[in-house]
Every structure is written in C-alpha cells, then in structure tokens.
C-alpha cells in the first residue's frame, strides 16, 4: 500500500474507532455525517470516491466495537450494488440519495435473512443480470446476535429493472459481502484479544497475574497467531476486490472461511480466559461470541467457501 493511503487508513481507523466506541447503537445519520456511507459513492454524486479498501477499514472497526447499525446492508452492500449497475437516472439518483442520507436501501440476495431491511426505504433485489428496484413487505427475523438486524423480504413491488455494467456479476457482489463480514470478524477478534490480554495482566490468582501462567499466555499467543493469519488473508481479499482482480473470488473465499471460522475460536478463548466473569451477561463477551457466530454463517459458511476453493482442484 502506498504511504499516503496507509496514513489515510490510519486516520480513518482512529476516527471510526473513537466514534463507534461511544455507543453500541449508532444512528444512521451519524454514519452519513461521518462520510462513511458515501465512501464508495463517486464524487459527482456527493460521495468520497474512495474504494472498498477504505470501506474495509470501517467494517473492521464496526467489528471491533460490535457496533449495531445498518452499515453492512445499507452502505457496504447497497453502494456496492449500485456501483455495479450501468449508469442511468435512477441509479445516479439513488447513489446521490444514499450518500446524502435521504434514502436508505437494503440489498436482497436471498429473501429470508436480508441485512438491515427493516426501515429501509427501498430494496434492491439482485438478479442474474442486475437488480430490481422496489419496495417490499419486511418482517424482522430475530437472531441471537442482537447487534445485527436481519429480516425476511416478501411481496416486492418492482418499480424498475437495472442492468449490471459489463463484467459485473452477482458473484462479485457476494465476494464483497463475504470480505466485508471477514473484516468485521477480524476487528472483533482484535478487540477480544486486547480485552483478554488486558484482563490477564491485572487479574491475580495464586498470588500472580494469570497472564504469567503458560496455559493462559499460550492461549493468548494462539489467538494472536490466528489473528495475524486472518489479517493477511483479509488484507489480500480486500485488495483483490478493490483492484477488481481475477483472484478476488478465491481470496474472498479464503478470507471469509478462515477469518470467520477462527473468530469463533478466538472469542471462545476470550470467554474462557476471562473465567466466570466472561460468562456473565454484563461482561459483554457473549455479544462478540454471538456476532462472531453470526458472521461465520452470513454469506456462506466456511465449508461452503472451501468447497468453492476445492472446485479448482478438480
């Protein structure tokens, strides 16, 4: 990464970390005002004209904070879908309205578990060659992870059909979705490692900090190793998607399967190493464990992604 991008990412990370740390639930308007919703919207439509690499930074911070908001469905997926469409008046207006906060959109790949559909003004139903724009009946699907909002979407009234641009595919959109969720899992793992290390340094048992015991220390080291590997795979996937490279699909499958699979182990270790307090509702570790488990299922299980990879061996 060029140094100027690296600096921009550091700044974005720091601002996002501060804002998201204030409250678990963040208003949509705060995300719009911060400029994150319009990050990938072209500048001519009031956005920042940035890339998926910048969106990925925000996604990672969302995971770190286990933030409850509509960013995944209404920014990452929505703007991503709109950007894959051929330019026309409806598309351009939607991009403008999403960036300004005037309209909130949800993207429907399948109708049962649509992220952030409740309260969305419009739905984009993904088809083989583009999206159907419309409105729909939305019924919330309560899930154990209270930081995510999923809903079933039915009775879509289509107002317009928009076509993909040359080369754009549903698969490409799903790769983005998978990589965005992998970023989230990476962020939540980092938060859990940091919390666990902090706790292990201060919690005393048998007259010494529990972090000085090898059993605890080595478990923390294992968390750090799998996070280091996740970071490589997630970084590679984000870069491949941002640059629209041919290896984006396999990179996204690797990032999603590894980062989201190991995240459940990492948060599980965090709960274990916090001892009794870690199992309490108040500690909040369960929030991360449930989110990690949901992330593992969203947009393809690890096994499903590995099956995609394995098709290349035949």
């Amino acid at each position: 990464m060029a140094p100027e991008f690296s600096e921009f990412h550091d700044e974005l990370r720091s601002v996002a970390g501060d804002l998201l740390a204030k409250d678990r639930a963040v208003d949509w308007s705060s995300l719009v005002d911060a400029g994150w919703v319009g990050l990938e919207v072209p500048e001519q439509f009031g956005g920042a004209g940035a890339t998926f690499a910048e969106v990925a930074v925000v996604c990672e911070e969302m995971g770190r904070a286990a933030s409850a908001n509509s960013y995944l469905g209404s920014a990452v997926l929505a703007v991503g879908a709109l950007n894959t469409l051929q330019p026309n008046q409806t598309r351009d207006q939607l991009l403008t309205d999403v960036a300004s906060g005037a309209t909130r959109i949800a993207v429907v790949f399948e109708s049962e578990f649509v992220p952030d559909a409740k309260g969305a003004d419009r739905v984009l139903v993904v088809t083989n060659d583009g999206v159907d724009v419309g409105t729909a009946t939305v019924t919330p699907q309560p899930v154990l992870d209270e930081t995510r909002h999923l809903a079933s979407v039915r009775d879509v009234e289509v107002t317009e059909r928009l076509q993909f641009r040359e080369g754009a595919t549903v698969r490409g959109l799903l790769d983005r979705a998978a990589a965005a969720v992998a970023c989230d899992s990476l962020g939540l793992c980092e938060a859990m490692l940091s919390a666990t290390v902090g706790y292990a340094k201060v919690r005393q048992q048998f007259g010494r900090p529990i972090g000085s015991f090898q059993a605890v220390k080595h478990a923390c080291a294992d968390m750090a190793v799998s996070i280091a590997v996740s970071r490589q795979l997630v970084g590679a996937a984000v870069q491949a998607i941002a640059e629209d490279r041919a290896d984006a699909h396999s990179s996204a499958a690797m990032a999603k399967s590894y980062a989201c699979g190991t995240a459940v182990d990492v948060v599980g270790k965090a709960m274990q190493l916090h001892g009794g307090i870690g199992y309490t509702w108040e500690s909040g570790i369960h929030v991360y464990l449930k989110r990690a488990a949901l992330n593992r299922s969203l947009f393809g299980s690890p096994a499903a992604h590995r099956k995609e990879l394995a098709n290349r061996y035949l």
């Binding site: 290390v197 972090g211 220390k217 190793v225 590995r306 394995a310």
Partner: protein, 394 residues
C-alpha cells in the same frame, strides 16, 4: 491456482529472467537421482548446486553487493518464489554459512574475519552452529562449554549437541562461557572454530527418520586463536540474539513458498479430491498456506523497513511448524498403506518432499528445535502481547 499480486515492471522482468534460468538449470530428474543416495553423493550434489546458483548470482542474494549479493528485497522474494515454483533443490549444507555465519560476520565480525570467510563461503566452505548443549536446550543461556583465555588463544572444553551438518562442516559458530561468575547471559562469548583443530570430535546422532545429520561435537582442550572471537568477550549472547533473527524472514519465506508450490501440488495430485471431506481439508490447507506466505512477505518487507514487530518471527515460525506437521500428517493419512512403503525421501528436498510419512515424522524437527513451539508461544505472549513473565525466569 497460484495467483500473485500485480508487480512492478522490473520485478516482472526479473521474474522472467529467473524463470528462464530455472528451466535451463534445474536438473529435471534430481528427485529420482537423489533418492536413497549416500552421504558423499549428497555433499557432491549440494556443492555443485550451490556453485550453479552462485554463478547466476542467486546463491546469496541477501548479502551486500560488495560481497557478492545485492538483490533488492522484492527481487529476493521473486527469486525464492520462482525457485519454489520450479521445484529447485534446497541449499541444505550451505544454509548455516550463507545465513547465520554471514549475518554474524556482517553484523559483528572484523574486516579480517569477513575477508577470510565470506569469499570462502562462496567457494563452498560449510558451517555448523554450535549453540545447544545437553543441559542447554530451550534454556540456551545456561550453556556450560567453557573458553579460558591463555595468551593469544582460548582453550575450549565442553560438548555441543544438535549441530546440524556437523560431520561435513569446515567451521563452527561456537558459543562458550568465558566468565563463569557473571549472570548467565553476560558471561558468554562468540567464536569461529576451525573444525580441523585438534581436540574437536564429531559424532553423528541418528534421528527419528533415520538420518544422521545432527551431530554431537566434543571439545577437548581445543585452542581457538583470540582473533576468532566475534564481538567483545562476554558479549556473545547479544551477538547471537542479533544474528539469529536476522536471517529468519527470508528463509521462512523460502520454506513457505516451497510449501505453497511443490508441497501443496503433490498433496492435491495424490489426494482423492472428489471426496468432499478431503476437498475441505485441502482448501483449508491452501488457505492457511496462503496466509503464511502473506505473513512471510510482510515480515521480510517490515524487516527491511525496520517496522517488524518483536514477536513476528515467532508467529511465523510457530505457524509454519504446526501447519507443516498437520499437512504432512494429512498427506500420510490420505496416502493409506502405500504411504508406508516410501522408505526414503529425496535428499536436498524440502520438508514437504511428498514422502509424507517421513515428512510427518520429520516435522518434529520444526516444532522442537530453533525455539520449540512452547518457547515461541511464550515469546509471542511476553514480547508480542506484553504479558507478565514467568516468575522464576531470569
């Protein structure tokens, strides 16, 4: 299947150049011809392959230009990627010389020591590392081999263990205690020992896979000229610490690339990939290898930029070792009874030769030496994460 990130035009040109060289110079039948060969043939082949690489400028790419190296870090990465992709033989015998010995001489040696040894290493001088002892394994700093100053020499007595390649070595990197009264890390000195010196006796130890490249080295009133001291007397621990890690980035990158190329390729070739359970495991391994390769590139680049983290090398070593062990275990498992009939592996191959059962048993050579996996986890916990030290540790 094995995609690479886009690269600059000069890197791409260099890649083409290395590819062309590999196609012309790597003996296509080396795996067959090196399987089951005796020691003399192994040494002959290693030396000739080293000379071949050296004549192309590929043997010591990481050395400074004035000593015969001088490839940029991105070029070194390309070189190791291509050597791995073309399944080149590994430099086994020259390893300690071109990495540890050279790093030590370049960082802490005198001009005279460098002039004496660096060109000799390029001519095939073989080195061995004399660090571990029977009572100093993971706790290396407790080593007992003594070096007593006597005039212009030191007189050394003791025993070294796990000296890899010891029976072929011309020279030894030796750690010995010069001040028995100082705290254990402050009384150690670093020497260059000529293995032909009277009083040096090498005895091979047969390891779990039947090889004998590990050796015991007995030192009985061995005289080392004071000019062969590296760094200051009693500053040997710092010299060793500074140079042990210096080479790890690129050598780990080479091993990761080998695992990702020939290693994984053979695993897929021999696997029943239409079995969904096998396919899932393979995809998991490919994912982990890809992550490892990324980590290794990052450690090399960060080392170059001076931004490498205090535990990054340990993370790489630990992850590689355990991944290698799981992967070779899987190769042995899916190989069925036929895997048990492979009684020899090709010499000069890597740790993933495709003789999976031997590779699996040999993988403990990664999880135990060079700081065992337990030691690596402690380093990651303490230096990387800042967790409190063991109360009893010094």
């Amino acid at each position: 299947m094995y995609e690479n990130s886009p690269e600059s035009r000069t890197q791409a040109q260099f890649r083409q150049q290395v590819r062309a060289w590999c196609e012309q110079h790597i003996p296509p039948d080396w795996r067959q011809s090196q399987t089951g060969v005796d020691d003399d043939e192994f040494v002959r082949f290693q030396k000739s392959w080293f000379a071949e690489l050296h004549s192309a400028g590929y043997a010591v790419p990481h050395w400074p230009r004035e000593w015969g190296g001088g490839l940029s870090v991105p070029e070194q990465i390309v070189l190791y990627q291509e050597l791995a992709a073309h399944d080149a033989p590994r430099l086994v015998l020259a390893f300690v010389g071109i990495h540890h010995a050279a790093a030590t001489l370049l960082a802490a040696g005198t001009d005279e020591q460098r002039r004496r040894h660096l060109p000799a290493i390029l001519d095939g001088e073989i080195w061995v590392q004399g660090f571990s002892e029977p009572e100093a394994g993971s706790d290396l700093a407790s080593l007992r081999t003594s070096a007593r100053r006597a005039g212009d020499s030191y007189v050394v007595n003791g025993q070294k263990l796990w000296a890899s390649g010891g029976k072929h070595a011309d020279w030894c990197l030796l750690l010995a205690r010069t001040d028995p009264d100082a705290p254990k890390r402050k009384g150690i000195s670093y020497f260059l020992l000529d293995m032909t010196t009277p009083g040096v006796e090498v005895r091979p130890i047969r390891n779990a896979i039947g090889d004998s490249h590990f050796c015991e080295v007995f030192l009985n009133d061995v005289e080392i000229p004071a000019a062969n001291l590296v760094g200051a007397e009693n500053a040997g621990w710092q010299v060793a610490q500074a140079t042990l890690g210096a080479e790890r980035g690129l050598t780990m990158l080479e091993l990761a690339e080998r695992l990702g190329n020939a290693g994984f390729r053979w695993l897929v070739q021999s696997a029943p990939v239409d079995d969904p359970v096998v396919a899932d495991r393979l995809a998991q391994f490919e994912t982990e290898i890809t992550g490892l390769r990324g980590l290794c590139r990052k450690v090399v680049e960060d080392s170059e930029n001076g931004t490498v983290g205090p535990a990054d090398a340990s993370i790489v070593k630990l992850f590689y070792s355990e991944l290698l062990q799981r992967l070779t275990d899987f190769g042995a498992e899916i190989g069925g009874m036929a895997a048990h009939t492979r009684l020899a592996k090709p010499m000069s191959s890597g740790w993933e030769s495709g003789s999976w059962l031997l590779d699996f048993i040999g993988s403990w050579e990664w999880t135990i030496p060079g700081g065992s996996s337990e030691i690596q986890r402690t380093i990651i916990g303490e230096r990387g994460l800042g967790l409190p030290r063991e109360p009893s540790a010094v």
